[in-house]
Subunit: 369 residues, 4 copies
Amino acid sequence: MSSTYGTLFKLSTFGESHGPAIGVVVDGCPAGLSFDTDFIQHELDRRKPGQSRITTQRREADEFEVLSGVFDGQTQGTPIALLIRNTDQRSKDYGHIAEQFRPSHADYTYQAKYGSRDYRGGGRSSARETAARVAAGAIAKLLLAQQGVQIQAYVSQVGKLKVEKPYQEMNLALAEENAVRCPDPEIAEQMFQYIDETRKRGDSIGGVVDCIVTGVPAGWGEPVFDKLHAELGKAMLSINAVKGFEYGSGFAGAELYGSQHNDEFYTDADGRVRTKTNQSGGIQGGISNGEDIYFRTAFKPVATIMQDQDSVDVHGQPVTVSGKGRHDPCVVPRAVPIVEAMAALVLADMYLRNQVSHVEKSKAEFSKI
Amino acid sequence: MSSTYGTLFKLSTFGESHGPAIGVVVDGCPAGLSFDTDFIQHELDRRKPGQSRITTQRREADEFEVLSGVFDGQTQGTPIALLIRNTDQRSKDYGHIAEQFRPSHADYTYQAKYGSRDYRGGGRSSARETAARVAAGAIAKLLLAQQGVQIQAYVSQVGKLKVEKPYQEMNLALAEENAVRCPDPEIAEQMFQYIDETRKRGDSIGGVVDCIVTGVPAGWGEPVFDKLHAELGKAMLSINAVKGFEYGSGFAGAELYGSQHNDEFYTDADGRVRTKTNQSGGIQGGISNGEDIYFRTAFKPVATIMQDQDSVDVHGQPVTVSGKGRHDPCVVPRAVPIVEAMAALVLADMYLRNQVSHVEKSKAEFSKI
Amino acid sequence: MSSTYGTLFKLSTFGESHGPAIGVVVDGCPAGLSFDTDFIQHELDRRKPGQSRITTQRREADEFEVLSGVFDGQTQGTPIALLIRNTDQRSKDYGHIAEQFRPSHADYTYQAKYGSRDYRGGGRSSARETAARVAAGAIAKLLLAQQGVQIQAYVSQVGKLKVEKPYQEMNLALAEENAVRCPDPEIAEQMFQYIDETRKRGDSIGGVVDCIVTGVPAGWGEPVFDKLHAELGKAMLSINAVKGFEYGSGFAGAELYGSQHNDEFYTDADGRVRTKTNQSGGIQGGISNGEDIYFRTAFKPVATIMQDQDSVDVHGQPVTVSGKGRHDPCVVPRAVPIVEAMAALVLADMYLRNQVSHVEKSKAEFSKI
Amino acid sequence: MSSTYGTLFKLSTFGESHGPAIGVVVDGCPAGLSFDTDFIQHELDRRKPGQSRITTQRREADEFEVLSGVFDGQTQGTPIALLIRNTDQRSKDYGHIAEQFRPSHADYTYQAKYGSRDYRGGGRSSARETAARVAAGAIAKLLLAQQGVQIQAYVSQVGKLKVEKPYQEMNLALAEENAVRCPDPEIAEQMFQYIDETRKRGDSIGGVVDCIVTGVPAGWGEPVFDKLHAELGKAMLSINAVKGFEYGSGFAGAELYGSQHNDEFYTDADGRVRTKTNQSGGIQGGISNGEDIYFRTAFKPVATIMQDQDSVDVHGQPVTVSGKGRHDPCVVPRAVPIVEAMAALVLADMYLRNQVSHVEKSKAEFSKI
């Protein structure tokens, strides 16, 4: 049941990289939401392979079919099933690794756990599964947009190339205007060249994606185990190739004094309680405080490289693994919409959960039924 | 339902900092486990306040009572309820903040979410709740010990003071021999002095806890959303004051090339599949590969400081918050057993979940019933 | 995790019949609910042993302690833990069955499942656990009362003695005025004598409890698997000694034609959509339709009787089991508050779940945060 | 999230009666199970419409496509998605009820809950959804067959026509040899004529399905809330048109004395602990005891009849509803495979859950990893 995520806004994804199809069932989306298919397709297109020469050349239309849950253009409160057919599977690319364990892939661990594996393109462990998350995340974004919540991620680091400017000083919309998805055009160009050179050398490189969430009111998130940032962390860490997560001051916060780190409160002109600083990243005690939520997610370099590597086969015999197939030299440009989708799924769930947190709300609510 | 954690090894904690008691119900611990009360008390004592002058002077015996689930010294497969009475609550210390929002505490967010809050010592949001996690984690450790799994955490950073040595080059047992819980005696002494000076200035400081898990066989962890490192990340991020999590190469991995980062496989003298390096941190595709699992957790400085801070009250009026009460100037020494406990809870759950992953196991299993 | 119940209004019970205590943790009760301890005690007293000579003579005060989740007389949205100490455990009464399997008890099945068991008074399988459900159910009743929902159960059958009148033709309040909890005073007296004679013969007898829920608006309950009546059925069947559940027309409905069974709709004077008849028992498609909800629950005779019975011991050797201990000759009088409590827990959960079913509600809701 | 069922063997169904497709995702089926597509199709064919003149004439091939989770003819431990296209939707049959509430259908309650509904053939509330359950149940049956568990349901009652013989005295295999699925050929013929006459009168009739499960070892099922019979009850009550559930002695057990009802233990020739009688229906304390498990499920008459009925429309105005479309005059013949499927899903889940109930099992299990 580990392919199911969420408490109230629940999704269940399925599908292997080279099987007939992948898809997702969203169970728990409220009824009465306008279902914008163009927007969902737009989000899928942002994640789609083959967008530029620095992404995999695998060609997938990634067009989806709505199988259920939508009627007269509106969600019905019933499960929404979305299907994406796999069209460009060159399974023959993988015959050679049917018995080999590719270094830093999930080949060995799946074999150890299940006693077998669908080796074609990594099967279930392939990042292809994330297309289903992006589709479901797009529905969550539609639900959140009604509440005034916006989510914007961008590439802040590729290898050692970093964006130093704080997000407030950039026009994040610019991120969508280059192949790297970095809002600083100069650094974006450097990153593009760097990734392209890495690709030419048959190597891959890691990176970092930053994400900013605006418009979340105070009160979203749950105490103790399901803290908002804990759920965001799990969601990000569940994305292929992720190695780390931090929010607000993050690891740098460990070096600060309380007198430097604390966010003092004040009341703004509109009478709203605000904080002077935002080391908390918009979350205190696991619950949103109304400030911007921001977090960073670190991605390792893609494991598939076009170089020979030592490994062993399923019999434990030494083998040389030669890179084949079509892969991204750097995942972060395509990871941006995935990070946004997972953030949207977490926030949609927390938004719904918050509605049953207080009995006065319940009573008010009840009176309208 | 956010105070409940786990799929099969499930716990539910309860209690406020200054209420009559805190406790935990563990539902899903297998029957037939020898219940070692001394070990559980030992773990609680490691987390207990008042261990040295660099920890809070609140005095809590933290003695627990077993209310259910154990008979003839063995677990019965029924819920195990553990109760810890609160004994040293100086609630009067908190009367002054009944209407104030302490900076970077959860006062404001709980008020915003629930419309009220138990302000005494932070109520439910207090780290006192973690005593219940440590008690439950101790049971998980007993279950894991049978499988040869050991968990050892230690303080690797306080402010800017860092342990540079890799864990393999230190005797981690030394961590328990100093008040800071750092396995490098020299740095431990520097950290102690640094924390103590910070305390005297009425300030607080952050830090980092590293955790090493040995003896986990290949195959633990679940694909897609419940990846082993995703669950570890959520578990760590759910601990009070945590701002970041990374495993294996972590954020540093984002700067590497695939050719540097990949862990090549080989077969060792015992015919076991191993990796030459361990950038993966013992986890590939969310499933353990049999190597050591290691991860790092960043803690912010404690929010309570003995200095005046600007804030607002529940009416939005400006107030000056003055630090009172008894608090840790640095949480990481006491966080070590909490990190271990949460890791144990995640691994115990994954251990049980892995037992139903493969039908051949099921059949073998069945034959023994 | 089978001692946990509910999706949003979640409870976790613990405790054995002769252990130190039993209790429950309610996680998910909304904040801001006035916590009426007298009412909760009143509900526990209704279930309490020793109410008359036709109930077990075990003496339990069944007084509860609130350990968490309540502050200033109100729920805080945090887990509510309630503790009930066991005071009158005559464990010596059970020494003789330490190695015996009592017919139609859970002794053998627990032993087969877990390899051991707490044999004292049935341990975890004892109906004593239901006191924790009644305490949690009382909180659910407080939440439902705010919504105008009332739950009233009563004994409709003991052995072959049955109440023939439909519930609409009786004053259900009278049920609480006799020891049997039957609203028909004449039949109640017959039932009392019948149970008492059965008791004197050292035997036990079964019965049926009917339950009526009024004030539930249209829209509670979820499609497909979590239908309102499916959850009610599971809840009732989870009560000790229950053998059957039916709602609305029930088993009798299987003998009817659609033309007899269908409930035609009309609009009443207040413009509310109603049904002329109520074979549906207030539920259509698993969702409440605004009519009275009613269902029936069948209880087998108590397994413990004061007569010798053939059985085997843990070694498979034949033994004679002689009834000892203090037991109810008929469970239904004390089952009435348990049935009500379980119904309340199901309905409280469905009430909360319904609040996130529709996005328009969400938007309205949101505007108030 | 109410379209998701199961704790470890988890399924999520989707689809409306007249949407493009219905389907199911099974998440939690162990790896290494031989995937028998012919058997799954065979089970779907048993539920398929148009099998005889006493079932609906809607023509659906009910052929399924495997979208994921199966490789080289074996399950992979990853989600198994099955898709069934809807082919014969005469939506025009339903235009007339777009604004009408059909008596005893879910039209009104869905409208009240969600503010809108897919009225075509009942949308999500249609029994068409059960095809997805039958497909998932067939996988569960394959898993259970490995453990020697067999499930056989049959029609025991149509209207007032009842099978009086106990199941032990019939050849249950005969049930599949007639259109009614009753193992008593004579009564089957009477039932067929009775249903056919009812159909000709444009009416419908209810019935009862009995189910027998053999081969379940002692130990399956969980204490307290997830008792085996409680889960079976919920599963049966979740099937469209079900009004009641009883197991073992059921409602009749309420009329018995303990001395009549108790099942005395003995040790059989093979040294196995058995019971002389089986009033318990193979379940004691919610856990299987190794005897046959049997239970009965009552179905109301189909709500759609070919007669005029009074009702109201979405505006509350009185209307006359005239039966159209193609429907079963009696659901029980086609309900037989659905009852079996739901029983299989419950038992597969309990089988997996039982494997983590005892630490000795865990240790033995572990040694094989």
